[in-house]
């Protein structure tokens, strides 16, 4: 018996060792493209062309020149600022509006609420490609409001409201006891105060989930921003990267720097908030 369990333990250790090796190999394969960018960003074009796999440039050696060049030619800080303004405003707006909407929908059995919620849930299946042509022809052709950051912020918010309202609906329905709101009412809170002081703070886990999912989607979105923002000074990072690649695709050193710069902000954020992001994405995916 003791021998048996010792054998089982040895077997388990062996399996774990094999799993570990497999995981490490797959992990290296997964981050291999990123490693390539990192080793080539410090080389000049001739060295990248000659040997993209060498750690240090063979002919010209180590260089930092690619960064300032790419930053300047891509107008990186401008694009970064645009992306940041658009992502942060859209995310905050989505969080506030969708939680308010979910609150009024859950707590009242009015026809308008049921209708709005049904329309929102149904609309979640519509892909953006079905809406992009009419969107451009309405807001570009008829109303002429393209090329404003605010237009993009409102559109981002409008597209993400359904999903966010759906998630807050579930959270309020299951996690916020009605008695709490009745107590607030007796203590003299208006509906507005009840929402802002009682309900909203209690929704923190859902707020984090929605914020992470939507902020990532807004930050990385390309198609909608590229249709709305067509002036260079309004470009977000994905559009700026695309435009930059179109102009400098042969200058590999610059391209590597631009790609690394485009990835860096979100990778840094991921290192800092990794646990929250993984949890948020998981619970968002499982609930949605």
């Amino acid at each position: 018996m003791i021998q048996d369990s010792a054998k089982a333990l040895a077997r388990k250790r062996r399996i774990h060792a094999i799993i570990m090796v497999v995981l490490i190999l797959v992990f290296i394969a997964f981050i291999f493209p990123f490693i390539l960018v990192v080793i080539n960003v410090f080389k000049e074009k001739v060295d990248i062309v000659k040997d993209p796999l060498s750690l240090i440039g063979v002919k010209k050696g180590f260089t930092l020149e690619n960064f300032p060049n790419a930053i300047q030619k891509m107008d990186f800080f401008k694009a970064f600022a645009n992306s940041l303004i658009i992502t942060v405003s859209s995310t905050i707006l989505t969080l506030l509006l969708s939680s308010m909407t979910a609150f009024v929908i859950v707590r009242n059995k009015w026809k308008a609420c049921a209708l709005l919620f049904a329309a929102m849930v149904a609309s979640m299946v519509i892909p953006f490609q079905v809406l992009m042509v009419p969107l451009v022809s309405l807001y570009g052709g008829i109303f002429g409001v393209l090329n404003h950051r605010l237009t993009l912020i409102l559109m981002h918010t409008g597209f993400s409201l359904s999903m966010a309202t759906f998630m807050f609906h579930g959270a309020i329905h299951t996690n916020i006891p009605l008695e709490l709101e009745e107590a607030a009412f007796i203590d003299g809170c208006t509906r507005w105060q009840t929402w802002w002081k009682i309900v909203f703070p209690l929704l923190k886990p859902t707020i984090a989930t929605v914020a992470i999912i939507d902020a990532m989607a807004f930050w990385n979105d390309y198609l909608l921003p590229s249709l709305v923002l067509q002036k260079k000074e309004l470009y977000t990072i994905p559009i700026a990267t695309q435009a930059f690649y179109g102009t400098f695709s042969s200058d590999l050193g610059l391209i590597m720097a631009a790609l690394l710069l485009a990835m860096l902000p979100i990778l840094i954020l991921y290192v800092l908030l990794q646990r929250f992001i993984v949890e948020g994405v998981t619970s968002g995916a499982v609930k949605g």
Partner: protein, 286 residues
């Protein structure tokens, strides 16, 4: 205040849901309806007049050989990519829930491609395919053959989405009670048998969800298509979403483009809903 008064209801609804309703209607519902209208017009994107043409756009869409070629390509790509994404994701999820050291690190690591937008990922991989791999003797995949471009698209998609689906499968694995596994093993199952016959059937919901997500994402692929292959060689790697974009915004056939977008949406919805329906039918409860 009388809570049954119409004025109270209206003011409450507008206070909490007014702005949302306006944005939602303006960005989703209005364009959707207007898009249906556009399919019955021949609009070039510039002129003020949008002459009504009846079903001509749908007819043009059905006759558009390039569109159906792109659609066929998208279906083949989606079928292979969806299967591979889910196999890889499931295996990764199995490995990172097996209790080895550092499994949280690996979970976080495999998710990294999802953090970065499709445009940037496509360019990174373009460098891999056209510079790094040829340096070790692997021939260029992009811009030469149709199948090469297809292979590249599938590989990048699997790499991009597997980590995300893995997280959903991990949640599935965790939701299956350990007691059931133990019971199965006491009854004589080996660990792999208890995974296959006990855990997997109970994770059906995770499979349905991952398949649905990967189907819809693959069918609508655009960003990676644009940055990785750009439709090259000679338009032989243009996926359906890119064809719709070109039809509308490059060739200025807005009506036909919108009609094709609707057809693409319907095909994708039919595949997705059928999958969910079949998947849910045999669901078992623990």
């Amino acid at each position: 205040m009388d809570k049954n008064k119409m004025s109270y209801k209206v003011s409450q609804f507008l206070m909490f849901g007014g702005i949302s309703t306006v944005l939602f209607l303006g960005v989703v519902i209005l364009p959707f309806i207007y898009g249906l209208y556009l399919t019955f017009t021949s609009w070039d994107g510039v002129s003020r007049s949008k002459p009504l043409v009846g079903f001509a756009n749908y007819l043009a869409a059905f006759k558009d050989i390039d569109f159906w070629a792109a659609m066929g390509r998208t279906i083949i790509y989606s079928a292979i990519a969806v299967i591979l994404i889910n196999i890889v994701a499931f295996l990764l999820a199995y490995l990172v829930t097996s209790g080895v050291k550092g499994q949280n690190f690996f979970r976080a690591g495999f998710f990294v491609p999802n953090l970065i937008g499709g445009i940037v990922l496509g360019y990174v991989w373009q460098f891999v395919f056209s510079r790094a791999l040829p340096a070790v003797g692997i021939p260029k995949l992009l811009g030469t053959t149709e199948s090469g471009a297809m292979f590249a698209m599938i590989l990048v998609s699997v790499w991009q989405f597997a980590g995300y689906m893995m997280l959903i499968y991990v949640a599935g694995f965790m939701s299956v009670s350990k007691a059931l596994m133990e019971a199965a093993q006491i009854d004589g199952c080996t660990p792999s048998q208890s995974t296959w016959y006990v855990t997997v059937p109970l994770m059906r919901a995770s499979f349905v969800q991952c398949l649905f997500l990967s189907i819809t994402r693959c069918f609508m692929v655009y960003d990676v298509n644009l940055s990785l292959t750009k439709g090259e060689p000679a338009g032989k790697s243009v996926m359906a979403a890119m064809h719709v974009y070109n039809q509308a915004f490059t060739y200025k056939n807005y009506g036909t483009g919108q009609a094709e977008a609707l057809i693409l949406f319907l095909v994708c919805a039919i595949v997705g809903v059928t999958q969910v329906y079949i998947g849910k039918k045999g669901e078992v409860e623990a």
